[in-house]
Point group: C2
Chain length 647, copies 2
């Protein structure tokens, strides 16, 4: 059957400022304040500084922002904050337009270290430390990762042994692989560390808990029993002083234990309101969720800087063309449109998914609602969006660099720092590959809480085959219903509907559901046949990974679609609608092999998807400039953009 | 129909040294000599140096190598070389395991600057300069790119106007966009530049020609009329002193013109043995081919460093696994196998394609054969392999960095430098996007010589519709024959053959041929309908791009397959055979959407491709270590690899 892709009609260009207001949403004021700060000449990224000068500059900036009360918006009001988690993340995301070392330094101090004290500690800790942390009078570290263990937190080796006679914990690094590694704020500035260690009370291992351990005195001298080594130069983020820490039987008082979820009494009795040790562990780790959401948002904003530079360049730079006429603009070429406008559409999509995520997180923290299911769903979403956003940043920034040719290679044009600094986002706050599998496992086990969070292989779940059975049955029924409704709904098979948002979303939903159901059935089949659980997992792992990955595509598409519907009618909404279609169809295009394998796209319709993506790129081309201006990246954060533009 | 993928039988591991000998091929001695030099402690990459110290170190190294006669192996013997182009490229490629700034510095001095004098100049230039260039007594620049024009060399703006009265050329930078930009060796060390400029003789423009222009005196002072600015810090390659050059009516004698392909007599008569100005231009540019081949080879070797580090790490680092047992090795996970072993297979494939390319180039330079068709085929291959190799390097090095987690982010582990230094490889010596389209255009126009090389849009060809017609007809007939032979050959449709190399290669060939034919027909259709040529091109551009891209996949696969056949029977050949199948099938897997669209894979067979790729990964897993050891990357080039290994 012939497929006709309607020729897109030209659209009235969106007004960048109106679109920016819509993108900024409820935290527009917070974002504008950060924009203003970033646009001051003295706050331009410190890309050219030496390691030590860069670290000093970053600390100065952080102190300035802390003094102005701008770094701990999520802290309770009584400790110098504003009790507004959403605003806190919005401010953090926006800061990603500037020097990313500053961003990460702030994330370590106020998000990770401060967050550990706030969420894992109790009133005593809050009283004693939070105000100093918020004011950066007490610089601290989040000492979780060890050289030998990053993602598998449950296997950390550092020990915290309770000595009842002294009423103290003894913190110790038993092996070289147990040294704390890559710890931000450790090499230079940190005075205290939230140390994650195996708690041992009366010879009984109680699993990983966090304790506050002083590491330097007021003069900045390293304390006895503590050894610190500088991680030195890194691929990027050299304004952050990452280091390694060893503890040699360091003693801290019993109150050093951050005891919201578990207490140790003077006599050595261990008590926790959460009975299951696995559940307790993952409840504690739940505090990481804000870090993940923050990193996802920051990477998206770094992406916006790159896209702004590259698309401006493509609208200035001419190359080849028709003899006798001025050379054509780079943006006029289809290959250039595809390489920049498709990532642009995905950036918009992730922006709106992120905004919903921040709202949900804000809600969860504000309502104090402790619904397990909601919490796990939020964790799953945060894990998935963080992974996809950070990978998107890595690939898009690279594409933008190449799209600017040799000019993109000069340090003054920001790509050097953008690439180098965002690179580790795919690793920290949870390795992306692990996070996607974590999301997959939560989906596969119906968000069951007792199966372990950060163990993406779900070893526990290997022995819980009935979980997969439930998911397998549920998805089989849903698929059947979808197919039935497809067949019943008039016009559903009409090829002309390809540009229709709902049609595309259904394709994304169907893929997510089918991938989930298929993986559940394969796992169950393997376990039922009595095969070795590890080899069942290995054989299915690429499928399991896909479960998480395609689910994110679906939820991101749905979030974008809701945003389009929320936008007041007009050119801005038309532009978002087109971007949303481009997001959806380019996602389907990238996986059209799968859609054909599963009978959801005919070969003809599959080819039509490619044509539609090209047509949408052509349609967006005339307002490509407006669509990046709408991000509102301050000029001061764009580097020597004039130079990129070729003169 | 059910598809059975035979369970792969375990293979005896290849002997790394035997495999290394096979990979090293005819230039094993040259490669070993460079290995030895790189393994000396004083020659370890200068990643931690300051900009100026790094530049000084690189110059010292280059002088040392030049003094030892190791940098200009391709130069004629009488000027300090060995007249061996193949060995010269082999040595250059191998140097890519070390500090890539040194590699690029050497490429600029001996490959680009020296190559311009050698290939575009005549006896006078050779006598006067080559020995000094070979010994690095005369450091020079290749001043082609301008701020306003990179890929479109024909549109350069710098002028070289002949003043017959003075018997001199006047070199001038008429606009800001005409300044020479990103020129290696310009900011600090260069004394002379091969300047590409529009030659104007007696008011007539003769197109772009190269002239030798002194830019600094013996004391290193910039000469009158010349202005030089430092490009400053770059994303990487900071040991190379890139700069900008402006010329203000700088006068050089008539003999400054590199006059192999065009002479200007004292009276101002212009003469060229090549009548067509377009052909003359592209003949001159043909000298760039060696640079492209060199960069392709270098990027492949940088990739090998990254893969060696990451696969070793994957064989040491344990994470998660079955409770009660030691954690599993990263390499035991299917996702980890896919992320590293598929790029490993592509690296092997590109290695052998590169080796064939070097052989052909060596042959072409040695035989002095000037067959136009052969030359264009070689250029096309060089363009395609350069683009694919350098993109492969960018993506693989990134994948390897992420596969090493936080440890991969420390500067000591080489990923920082590997990423940053190789990044520009996708841009210089021809922008990859342009090069792929150049290859496509050569294929679409049957390698016709008069249609312009570096104008990938083939504006000239827009008006030569009959060319496309020929290609369209030819490919249609070939496709018909392929289909017929498919139907006639017994067992051709047998699903079990998926792991058979020839089956896979036929799928790659068919895709290349079909993509080419389809693009030719679309272009011809557009032109025949009288549509605006530029919009015909834009509408077809992604298809035209695919013509070049998929053709490279085919020729790389064929080169790999020939290498397997050449390898003596035994475990090394078995390993190569498996890697070759993985290369072919993972390529098909990545484009299985296309194969289904074009009826060459059923949905069942398409899914079987995924299973086969997974099975091949599992089969190679036990000898992953041997397969990277066989690259023979010196330990000294692997950085703090111990640290990556987690202790």
């Amino acid at each position: 059957m012939a497929v006709t892709i309607p020729t897109p009609t030209p659209q009235t260009a969106a007004d960048p400022l109106a679109l920016q207001r819509f993108l900024d949403g409820r935290y527009a004021g917070t974002r504008d304040a950060v924009r203003g700060w970033l646009d001051l000449p003295q706050n331009a990224p410190g890309d050219g500084l030496t390691l030590e000068a860069h670290r000093a500059q970053v600390l100065d900036w952080a102190r300035e922002l802390a003094a102005a009360g701008r770094t701990a918006l999520g802290f309770p009001v009584e400790y110098g904050g504003q009790g507004d988690v959403g605003a806190s993340i919005a401010a953090f995301e926006t800061l990603a337009w500037g020097d990313l070392s500053l961003l990460v330094k702030i994330g370590v101090q106020f998000g990770l270290f401060g967050g550990a004290v706030l969420h894992l500690g109790t009133a005593t800790h809050h009283e004693r430390y939070l105000a100093d942390i918020a004011a950066l009078r007490l610089p601290g570290c989040f000492a979780m990762t060890e050289t030998g263990h990053g993602s598998n937190v449950q296997a950390l080796e550092t020990t915290a042994t309770y000595d009842a006679a002294a009423d103290e914990f003894v913190i110790h690094t038993p092996t070289e692989s147990a040294r704390k590694d890559y710890i931000g704020n450790a090499a230079r500035d940190g005075r205290m560390a939230a140390v994650f260690a195996q708690l041992i009370v009366g010879d009984e291992g109680r699993g990983v808990h966090a304790l506050l351990v002083p590491i330097r005195d007021e003069q900045g001298e390293v304390l006895p029993g503590v050894r610190i080594e500088d991680c030195g130069a890194k691929l990027g983020l050299d304004g952050v002083d990452n280091g390694r820490i060893w503890f040699d039987h360091v003693r801290v008082p019993r109150e050093a234990l951050l005891d919201r979820y578990a207490q140790v009494r003077p006599d050595g009795t261990y008590f926790s309101p959460i009975e299951s040790s696995t559940k307790r562990f993952f409840t504690m780790l739940g505090t990481l969720i804000q870090g993940r959401v923050s990193v996802g948002g920051a990477s998206m904003n770094a992406t916006k800087v790159a896209l702004t530079i590259a698309i401006r360049h493509g609208l200035e730079r001419r190359q080849f063309g028709v003899p006798g006429e001025p050379e054509a603009l780079l943006m006029d070429y289809r290959t250039h449109q595809r390489r920049l406008l498709i990532p642009l559409a995905h950036t918009y999509a992730l922006h709106f998914a992120q905004a919903e995520l921040v709202d949900q997180l804000h809600e969860a923290f504000s309502s104090d609602g402790d619904g397990d299911l909601e919490r796990r769903e939020l964790e799953t979403l945060a894990a998935g969006v963080k992974a996809v956003s950070t990978w998107h940043a890595t690939s898009t920034i690279q594409e933008c660099r190449e799209a600017c040719g040799g000019a993109g290679y000069l340090a003054g044009n920001r790509f050097a720092a953008l690439k180098a600094d965002t690179d580790v986002f795919t690793t920290f706050e949870g390795d992306n590959t692990v996070l996607i599998q974590l999301a997959a496992k939560n989906l596969l086990t119906g968000f069951r809480d007792d199966l372990g969070e950060l163990d993406p292989l779900g070893t526990a779940a290997f022995f819980a085959g009935q979980v997969y059975e439930t998911v397998a049955e549920r998805t089989a029924i849903r698929e059947l219903l979808t197919r039935l409704s497809d067949d019943l709904r008039p016009g559903r098979k009409d090829e002309g509907e390809l540009l229709d948002r709902e049609t595309g979303l259904e394709l994304l939903r169907w893929r997510a559901e089918h991938t989930l159901g298929g993986a559940a059935r394969r796992l169950k089949g393997g376990f039922d046949a009595g095969r070795d659980p590890f080899s069942v997992l290995v054989d299915t792992q690429d499928h399991v990974f896909a479960v998480g990955r395609v689910w994110v595509d679906q939820v991101v598409g749905e979030a974008f679609s809701r945003a389009v519907d929320r936008c007041p009618a007009g050119p801005e909404r038309d532009a978002l609608d087109t971007l949303c279609s481009l997001y959806i169809l380019s996602t389907i295009e990238a996986d059209r092999g799968w859609y054909q394998e599963h009978g959801r796209l005919s070969s003809t319709r599959s080819k039509a998807v490619i044509k539609a993506v090209n047509a949408l790129c052509g349609r967006l081309r005339p307002q490509a400039g407006e669509l990046v201006e709408a991000f509102g990246v301050p000029e001061g954060a764009l580097g020597d953009a004039r130079r990129v533009e070729g003169v």
